[in-house]
């Protein structure tokens, strides 16, 4: 249910209706539902923003702090923020 809540809030929000919340209540308290819902919303917002920044890992595989240019050479064309 929690994973469905996350997925549907992002891609199928109309399906997160009163009946869905009734089903959530069978497993979670209202406090937990609000915690989950706010957390999911927060991540929906921030992962979209971070993805647009196209940043690469700060460290090389052997643990060195590297520049974004070197990191892109190491990790290739897929920025970690889009993973």
């Amino acid at each position: 249910m929690a994973l469905r809540y996350a997925l549907w809030m992002a891609v199928k929000p109309d399906a997160v209706d009163a009946a869905f919340y009734d089903e959530l209540r069978r497993h979670y308290s209202d406090e937990e539902i609000v915690e989950l819902g706010a957390f999911i919303g927060f991540n929906i917002g921030y992962h979209t923003f971070f993805g647009s920044l196209k940043f690469y890992p700060l460290f090389s595989p052997d643990g060195r702090l590297v520049s974004q240019e070197e990191s892109s050479d190491i990790y290739g064309s897929a920025p970690v923020s889009l993973a």
């Binding site: 929000p13 539902i33 915690e35 819902g37 706010a38 927060f42 647009s52």
Partner: protein, 185 residues
């Protein structure tokens, strides 16, 4: 200045989660809820729902208020961005709210309506305002179009700190709008 009142959508609080009454919250949270109500955004209903999880409510309400009303990006612009994002998120609650601070600074409904429409071709908006609205629009409608060219355009008008202020503001408020949309169905 347009003296027309904003189109207030009556909010019937039949949300799946019953909001906490302010007098049932601890002092710090009650103060934040009151501040949110005075500011107009995020408003008492969302604040009360969030207050069901006090730990998260304190952090998120504070962050929403700071990101909205503080910083160096013009607050009226952020308010227009916020409302446009609420429309994109399909959230009628946040779309109907109005920042009392922005209204006090002269933002009116005619300008808000223009920001929700074809802002790219509306002469009332400066290039800086248009690119900020474009940033918001693309971020949550077509994120693949938030590309290097858009960031280069943003940098013509805003410092990197201001771009981060805008981006982080958009991320937080859009996320809460996505959550609140499910509460309003």
């Amino acid at each position: 200045m347009d003296a027309a009142k904003p189109p207030i959508t009556p909010i019937t609080p039949t949300t799946p989660i019953t909001p906490v009454e302010p007098d049932a919250a601890d002092a710090e949270l009650a103060s934040l809820i009151a501040r949110a109500a005075r500011a107009g955004v995020p408003g008492p209903l969302f604040s009360g729902i969030l207050a069901r999880s006090p730990v998260h409510a304190r952090a998120l309400l504070r962050a929403m208020l700071i990101s909205h009303t503080e910083g160096s990006v013009d607050h009226r612009l952020k308010e227009m961005v916020r409302i446009r994002l609420a429309r994109i998120a399909g959230d009628s609650y946040f779309a109907a709210l109005r920042s009392s601070v922005a209204l006090g600074q002269g933002l009116d409904e005619a300008t808000i309506a223009a920001a929700l429409g074809d802002f790219e071709n509306d002469p009332r908006f400066t290039p800086a305002q248009r690119v900020a609205l474009r940033y918001a629009d693309r971020m949550y409608r077509s994120p693949s179009e938030v590309d290097d060219a858009l960031y280069a355009e943003l940098k013509k008008h805003y410092s990197e700190a201001q771009i981060m202020e805008l981006g982080a503001f958009m991320a937080l408020h859009y996320g809460m709008q996505a959550f609140m949309r499910t509460m309003s169905q």
